[in-house]
């Protein structure tokens, strides 16, 4: 535990000294916040409240990008190799990265909530405890996804390409940019296979329908299962050196991390009410008319 805390502490310091981090973790989220708040929501408190789910999702989901890039850079530069000479387990490297990210991402989330309150006069934040539970889960799950990406990619360029592809899928197909209910039906159906969709949906339910975290059983369980699976697989595939060979089936293991959402997507496509609830939330702002919490 001491090793994890020591590593997390130093990662926080190093990251805060990185100007790129300030841009991607503070300036970009703030730009998105004001774009959504002033342009899309036209400053109306109810509309801003509706868009807080997507805004917070952007901030949290970006965590995978920074983590994967840092790990691959450290591996390419031989920094991980120096760490390997010390008695450090791969799991310590992994958990310290995620722990550090709580401290790096949470302040931005809090600033966004404060700005929503004081600039756009949002008064109803729904269930703040649920929002923070989901944010913590999101940082863990999307961070672990970043670590899996770093485990199976060899170079910065490769990592960047995969990150770009995943980022676009996560933001455009999940309701984080265009509301899910406004997307074409076929795209909505594809979106049901993405963790980001459940994350945005969970945050909106907490914000607009005052949902408790235990009311969002499916969302919480799937994010926990995904985070656990991704953290486990990234610890198994962790490589200290660029020359270290990947096991033959490593990429299959990496793809296997999406299993919880493949199953959830199939179930939701056949039996679920997420799409109809999302439509209620979009059309019925404020959302007292949303269907009752159905443990989703």
């Amino acid at each position: 535990m001491r090793t994890i805390l020591t590593l997390a502490g130093i990662r926080i310091r190093i990251t805060l000294r990185n100007k790129a981090f300030l841009f991607f973790s503070l300036i970009m989220p703030m730009a998105i916040f004001f774009l959504y708040g002033s342009v899309f929501a036209k400053g109306k408190p109810e509309a801003v409240a509706y868009l807080m789910g997507p805004i917070l999702s952007f901030t949290v989901m970006g965590t995978f990008w920074g983590l994967s890039m840092q790990l691959v850079t450290w591996r390419e530069q031989g920094i991980l190799r120096r760490f390997r000479l010390a008695p450090i387990a791969p799991s310590s490297m992994i958990f310290s990265s995620i722990l550090a990210n709580y401290f790096l991402i949470l302040p931005t989330v809090i600033i966004e909530l404060f700005l929503a309150r004081f600039i756009y006069h949002v008064t109803a934040f729904g269930n703040l405890i649920t929002i923070f539970v989901l944010v913590i889960l999101g940082i863990t799950a999307f961070g672990a996804m970043g670590l899996v990406i770093a485990s199976v990619t060899n170079t910065m360029q490769e990592t960047q390409i995969i990150n770009q592809l995943l980022w676009f899928a996560l933001i455009f197909l999940s309701g984080a940019t265009v509301p899910l209910a406004a997307l074409p039906n076929a795209v909505q159906r594809i979106g049901l296979f993405l963790p980001a969709t459940y994350f945005v949906y969970g945050l909106q339910r907490a914000m607009l329908a005052n949902a408790h975290w235990y009311d969002l059983g499916t969302v919480v369980v799937s994010l926990v299962a995904w985070a656990a699976l991704a953290a486990f697989i990234s610890s198994q595939l962790f490589r200290w050196e660029p020359e270290a060979k990947l096991p033959r089936n490593a990429k299959l293991w990496a793809v296997a991390t999406i299993l919880p959402f493949v199953l959830l997507g199939i179930w939701e496509n056949h039996n679920g009410k997420l799409l109809s609830t999302a439509a209620y939330m979009m059309n019925g702002r404020p959302t007292e008319n949303a269907p009752p919490a159905d443990n989703r």
């Binding site: 001491r2 020591t6 990185n18 031989g78 920094i79 120096r82 000479l85 010390a86 008695p87 450090i88």
Partner: protein
């Protein structure tokens, strides 16, 4: 050897089809400075990295402090310290932070302030890693390698790429550690480094250990002969040079002729007469006492830097 702290038996390391280490065996006693000397690509780093637990051996057996590097990696890492051929740390990590960070990973640790002072890094405590010179980075790497007061210290090419002045500085540090009776295993391709620092040296070439012993023992292999290196205007027959008075052996290396002479003066006189008779000319002549370089040339027919 009574009680070796490090033992290597028939070590084999392959990378695909390439056999980098081919059945290397040696042992190191506690308090000894042991050098692995050989050209680039000889298998020195692969050997040392197996011992550090960074690479898995494909054959043979190795123990360090009585521990198997593969079976007890964490116990081993608490007992050893190491500098890598190329150490790297995050650019925005400060010197003081790096030392404290790594101290935090070990059960046994030395006073970090003392280490910074000893390695002349006190004033650089707040400097970022990317602001350090090559020598300062290497001193930091050495300080970090000593943070857990290791029983065995591995130094992989500790002075490679450093300018002569910094190299001498690093020699000073290693000599100090030697006086403290620290067990050190170092790899190098610098002859003077091996001769100056090592109690015993193993010469490695093409993954094989071709000779080992104290520098004096190894040099005696040259039969306490003086080396006369000559360049000639025209090629000469090696065999005819071998027949000259006072010459025990003659080798052709990189277009020069290396004559091992038991009696130097008669050998040079005989050489000059021979060249006159052959209508050949002496372009240059250099006399040197035998060094490990000669041992290497004798054993491999090549220079160490080739």
């Amino acid at each position: 050897m009574a009680n070796p702290i490090l033992q290597v038996e028939n070590l084999v390391k392959r990378y695909g089809d390439v056999e980098a280490v081919r059945g290397v065996s040696f042992s190191v006693e506690e308090g000894e400075v042991f050098g692995l000397l050989g050209p680039n690509g000889a298998g020195k780093t692969s050997t040392i990295e197996v011992l550090e637990g960074l690479r898995v051996a494909d054959g043979g057996r190795a123990t360090v402090c009585g521990l198997d590097p593969q079976k007890n990696p964490n116990e081993l890492k608490n007992e050893i310290g190491a500098t890598l051929q190329a150490t790297s740390l995050p650019d925005k990590l400060r010197v003081g932070e790096a030392i404290h960070l790594f101290a935090g990973f070990y059960k046994r640790r030395r006073n970090t302030d003392e280490l910074l002072k000893r390695f002349g890094l006190e004033e650089k405590r707040h400097a970022f890693y990317n602001q350090l010179s090559g020598g300062q980075k290497q001193r930091l790497a050495l300080a970090m390698a000593l943070i857990n007061d290791p029983r065995v210290l591995f130094l992989d090419e500790p002075t490679a790429g450093l300018d002569p002045q910094v190299r001498r500085e690093i020699y000073g540090i290693i000599e100090e550690l030697k006086r403290e009776k620290k067990t050190i295993v170092l790899t190098t391709h610098y002859i003077e480094e091996a001769e100056k620092l090592c109690d015993r040296v193993a010469i490695i070439d093409h993954g094989k250990l071709i000779a080992s012993g104290t520098p004096r023992e190894l040099k005696q292999r040259s039969g306490d002969t003086t080396r006369v290196e000559v360049r000639l205007a025209q090629p000469a027959a090696k065999e005819s040079l071998k027949q000259l008075d006072g010459v025990t052996d003659a080798l052709e290396v990189d277009g020069s002729y290396v004559l091992h002479c038991q009696r130097t003066a008669p050998a040079i006189v005989a050489l000059v007469k021979h060249l006159e008779a052959q209508n050949n000319e002496l372009v240059s002549l250099e006399i040197a006492t035998p060094s490990l370089e000669d041992v290497f040339i004798e054993l491999t027919g090549r220079r160490l830097r080739d």
